[in-house]
């Protein structure tokens, strides 16, 4: 790993053996008093792909916004590759945690694809040929290098989603956090995105309601329910546990049997 931000002094040493993500005892209440998280514990090791499942209102988004320090933990800690999420580390934390938001129109705010992908690394101080190389590399990883000069609103929805992934890949993140990556995608774009995600050599945390997609991509899944991690197991075992699924308002699509699926190898 070479941190983009060699200029920002991160006081903590970079520990190579630390897990990509370590959340312990994380609790949070919104300013209006509504408590969303009640002590979340979650460890994601380097290179793992983990699905974060849970019904609406379970606190999934709240948890995600803690991972890069948008929300400040009420209590408990979040560490990314050993570095605690705290005000003094925010720049480095935001480089390490790449969040892909649900609506690519929110994520892609620059006039052209190239500038958008360059935004993260350029904010961190990268310039010139190094920046170009980084941008092209990220676009290649998602198969969008030919679209660099296009404005984002001239792309199809699936293409915009892929560019959104590239915008965070360009920051060479420690962990990729995807918020509903399959939403609004047609089956072909869905499969293309799955192929891309599988080809990446990066830790992934995928927040989703799309249980077949979670099964396809993530060997491990956790269920966040009422502000705590209610289950943490192999994705296939979780989806096959009907009682557990029902008690957390999780339902498989009609006709889908997780037992009958053979999972593509990583």
């Amino acid at each position: 790993m070479d941190p983009v931000t060699s200029s920002t002094e991160s006081t903590e040493p970079f520990t190579d053996d630390a897990p990509s993500l370590e959340v312990s005892g994380l609790a949070y209440a919104y300013p209006d008093g509504h408590q969303a998280l009640f002590g979340v514990n979650l460890t994601v090791c380097r290179g793992e792909r983990v699905a974060l499942l849970g019904p609406n209102g379970a606190g999934k988004t709240t948890l995600v916004l803690h991972l890069n320090g948008i929300l400040d933990a009420g209590s408990g800690t979040v560490r990314v590759a050993g570095l605690p999420v705290a005000k003094r580390n925010l720049a480095e934390i935001r480089r390490r945690v790449g969040i892909v938001f649900q609506d690519p129109d929110d994520q892609l705010f620059m006039p052209t694809v190239r500038e958008d992908v360059a935004f993260g690394p350029a904010t961190a101080g990268l310039r010139g040929p190094e920046l170009e190389e980084r941008v092209l590399g990220a676009l290649k990883q998602v198969g969008m290098e030919e679209y660099a000069a296009r404005p984002p609103h001239h792309l199809s929805f699936g293409q915009r989603r892929r560019v959104a992934v590239a915008t965070v890949l360009a920051m060479e993140p420690e962990i990729l956090v995807l918020d509903e990556p399959s939403s609004n995608l047609d089956p072909a774009s869905r499969r293309e995105l799955a192929d891309i995600l599988r080809s990446l050599d990066v830790t992934v945390l995928m927040v989703t309601h799309d249980l077949p997609y979670a099964l396809e991509l993530c060997p491990r899944a956790v269920i966040l329910s009422e502000g705590v991690i209610a289950a943490d197991d192999r994705t296939q075992d979780l989806l096959c546990d009907e009682k557990l699924m029902r008690s957390h308002r999780l339902e498989l699509p009609f006709g889908f049997d997780p037992r009958s699926v053979s999972i593509p190898s990583a």
């Binding site: 948008i70 480089r95 052209t112 904010t123 920046l131 609103h153 001239h154 920051m171």
Partner: protein, 253 residues
């Protein structure tokens, strides 16, 4: 999806004018307009020369006259105001085609018309030879406050998104039998406008969140640096310099 590949004013092409760096062109147009505005209105021939200068630029840029003239239509509301002046400005009266009009009013109308038309023509020429994106880069280079450039750039990026949202809302209204026919329907339209505002505002918040997540701390990184050589500056300066000569003549003659 929204409009075509570029904005409507831009005319794709490769000409010496297209190839000039955007900030040179912006500066040239700005100076040209300043010179035109400071020309005495009595020097009518000077305005003819300005028009000829612009026509020469258009010829070099290979922008057809019809293309330019069609886009000059923006000016019409201002022209309407100018046409009123001969009738409402008090002063010595004269008769044109049997209608009594005031002399200072006529001069005023001519002044507004000539200067506005030249200014609009120069701007249209700039817009048809410079991509919007490049205009922004130019403004950034000319040290316009970065916040203004950012706002303009977000307008360009999200204009289509918001228009699209507006169109979907209108379809949803009509699908439920709504037809905007008169004052009584205004309440519904106002509510829609309010909803659109709130949606856009919330999108703004989400965009900001996405920006902060990627390290935004208040300043946009300058990724493309617009640069200009001395020759390019000299080339761009030709228009305002010639115009200045005409202007000075206008004052001395």
């Amino acid at each position: 999806m929204g409009a075509g590949h570029a904005h409507k004013l831009y005319r794709h092409g490769h000409s010496p004018v297209h190839d000039l760096p955007p900030h040179c062109k912006l500066a040239a147009v700005f100076c040209f307009v300043l010179v035109v505005v400071s020309t005495p209105r009595e020097a009518m021939w000077a305005f003819g020369l300005y028009a000829a200068l612009l026509a020469a630029v258009a010829a070099v840029a290979r922008v057809p006259a019809g293309f330019l003239l069609k886009r000059l239509v923006v000016e019409v509301p201002f022209v309407a105001f100018a046409l009123l002046m001969p009738f409402v400005v008090p002063g010595e009266q004269t008769s044109v085609l049997g209608v009594s009009v005031s002399v200072p009013g006529l001069w005023g109308a001519w002044n507004v018309l000539a200067k506005a038309t030249l200014g609009v023509a120069a701007s249209v020429l700039l817009a048809s030879t410079t991509e919007l994106r490049a205009v922004l880069l130019g403004l950034q280079r000319l040290k316009l406050p970065p916040l203004l450039v950012q706002i303009a750039s977000f307008m360009i990026r999200y204009g289509d998104v918001v228009t699209d949202e507006m169109r979907r809302m209108s379809i949803a209204r009509r699908s439920r039998g709504f037809e905007a026919r008169g004052v009584r329907q205004w309440r519904v339209l106002a509510a829609s406008a309010g909803a659109l505002f709130i949606r856009s505002y919330e999108r703004g918040e989400r965009v900001h969140l996405a920006m902060v997540s990627r390290g935004y701390t208040g300043a946009m990184p300058v990724i493309d640096e617009a640069t200009a050589t001395r020759t390019q500056w000299a080339y761009a300066a030709a228009l305002p310099a010639l115009a200045l000569a005409v202007c000075l003549l206008g004052w001395t003659l």
